[in-house]
Amino acid sequence: MTVTDVARESVSAALEVDRVESHLNPPASYDLADHPVPSGREEIWRFTPLKRLRGILDGAASEAHLTWETTVPEGVTLREVTGEEVVAMGELAPNDRPSALAAANAGRAMLLDVPAEAVVTEPVVLHLHGESVEDLVWGRLLVRVGANADVTVVVNHTGSARYAAITTVLVGDGARVNVLTMQDWDDDAVHLGRDAIRVGRDASVKHTSISFGGDLVRMHANVEYAGPGGAAELLGLYFADEGQHLEHRLFADHMAPKTKSHVLYKGALQGAGAHTVWIGNVLIRKVAEGIETYEENRNLVLTDGCQADSVPNLEIETGEIAGAGHASATARFDDEQLFYLRSRGVSEKEAQRLVVHGFFNDLIRKVGIPSVEERLLKTVEAELAKNVLNAGSDGPAEEAP
């Protein structure tokens, strides 16, 4: 079976599913008229500070690009194709205005092709770099993974831009895919990203979204299933500093029986005006019997003046499910934990450092890309240095005896 066949089969499978409209997620469409300019009161926009999008939603045409520095191991190809081609290949249609604009304005798309049965041991790395926030950039990427292939794809964003991108990952039957997107932007960047994944029969996918940088980052991670037996693990890690808005919107659309979704997002917030948003939508359609889903979001608030919004939503249309649950918690440092550590001689800041590393550790270990895991430990340390470990800052004051 060729990869194109896989994609085509996926499309036809989708058409067989009853169209149930989730009231949490507007229908996907390329038509801009279906995605009007938001006022800010819409359910999907109410948490996002629209002014700070700096005009992206106006959808002006732009020739600006990010520079791509890529590591493409043997057996994988990366090439430019037209918008019509990616649509024909089964691109998952835009589900909000920025992704619709990206599809309309990008002018071309990048296609990453991983043939069926290919086992790619080295990660594919796409390092996207922007020069300036003055640049308005539209991005479009299709990742096509053939049946039973095994691949890891890392997309790393640095520098600055106003960037809106639509990304689709089509995972062939029985394939194993690990995709990671890292938002490591400079302070002023604005990034609206939509990643949508279609999981083939008995395939397994891990998608990790990591957001540290940028003034405003809003990322969708959507997953749907082309057949029974697919499993998706959606991970996220974010660290919001003073004034940053980091938003992660998840949607697991269980449209096939015996599929799994497992979501774990963890974030830390520090500094005045640090704002994080996590929306975890799960839809279990009538046909999706015997599925399992669990979603969890945990936030650790390190200083005063931060806000963490966390909204899990579970829509269930069938009674025949194997398991469904969610958990959401936002907490400050736990006095008992700090006391325990400090009673062993560990200073308050060192105790806080241990707790924050501990908070992220289980998640970091799940990422499954050693080079990224190592880097994440360092990044968490660097974030801590800005505040928690930085004596004399507006971080938590040394507690009086």
Partner: protein
């Protein structure tokens, strides 16, 4: 040398109805090399005493003093007290998710000594301390207290006691919830600790059982936030025979 001196200690907790006095003037001196048992019914304030000495933020000291070798402990932060030589084995050790036991132990040792321990001897010391408490070598990779059984938590506390080797140890109901084998293992650990020169132990317990394995120099009966009676080890035998009734009745009057 290490003398823990508690004088007329008064402590209250913050409640919805305002401050509530729990310790009503505790006076007690544990001299270098001595083991004192504090025995009392549930709710008498034993843990409050232990936590207050260690500096738990929940408790407010409203009067009295606590010194270690003449140095004012109450003026110190929690970690300063530990670095001054105090250790508290907690009744309910706290889970710290994602922080491995070995990382925790190394961080604590480094904080106490002011320098990181020599890698080779340290690994050996940790393995020995864990093995002494009958804890599996893989224990070091587990998150601190997370998913530990009650017995594992207590044995982990005593493994820390041996590794961190303070001057004075307060053991808050380390014996409760242990089966007889675990009780013996834990007692042996405490006895190894106090066999060293000049170590002080304040052993808080509800039951006399552990005193068969750890012989105290003095026993204090603790009722309603203060010491009701002090004596030698024979006082524990009296308690074993008669319980706390006589003291509780007295307190209620």
């Amino acid at each position: 040398m290490s003398t823990l001196e508690i004088k007329d200690l008064q402590v209250s907790v913050h409640t919805e109805d305002g401050p509530k006095e729990i310790l009503k003037g505790v006076t007690l001196t544990v001299r270098s090399g001595e083991t004192h048992a504090i025995m009392g019914p549930n709710g008498s304030g034993k843990s409050t005493l232990a936590y207050s000495i260690a500096g738990h933020p929940k408790y407010t000291v409203t009067g009295g003093s606590v010194t270690l070798d003449g140095v004012d402990l109450l003026a110190m932060t929690v970690d300063e007290r530990a670095r001054a030589g105090l250790f508290l084995a907690m009744q309910y050790p706290v889970e710290v998710p994602g922080v491995s036991v070995s990382n925790f132990l190394r961080t604590a040792k480094t904080a106490l000594d002011g320098e990181s321990p020599k890698l080779r001897t340290w690994v050996k010391d940790v393995n020995t301390a864990l093995a002494n408490l009958n804890l599996d070598p893989t224990f070091g990779t587990r998150s601190v207290n997370e998913g530990f059984s009650g017995g594992e938590k207590k044995r982990h506390e005593i493994a820390q006691l041996e590794l961190l080797n303070p001057q004075v140890a307060i053991l808050d109901e380390t014996d409760s919830g242990l089966d007889i084998d675990a009780l013996k293992i834990v007692s042996e650990g405490v006895n190894r600790f106090r066999a060293q020169e000049g170590k002080g132990v304040l052993l808080i317990t509800h039951y006399t059982r552990i005193l068969r394995y750890i012989m105290p120099d003095q026993v204090h009966v603790f009722v309603d936030g203060k010491v009701a009676e002090s004596g030698g080890p024979e006082l524990a035998d009296q308690l074993e025979a008669n319980g706390y009734e006589k003291y509780v009745a007295g307190a209620a009057v």
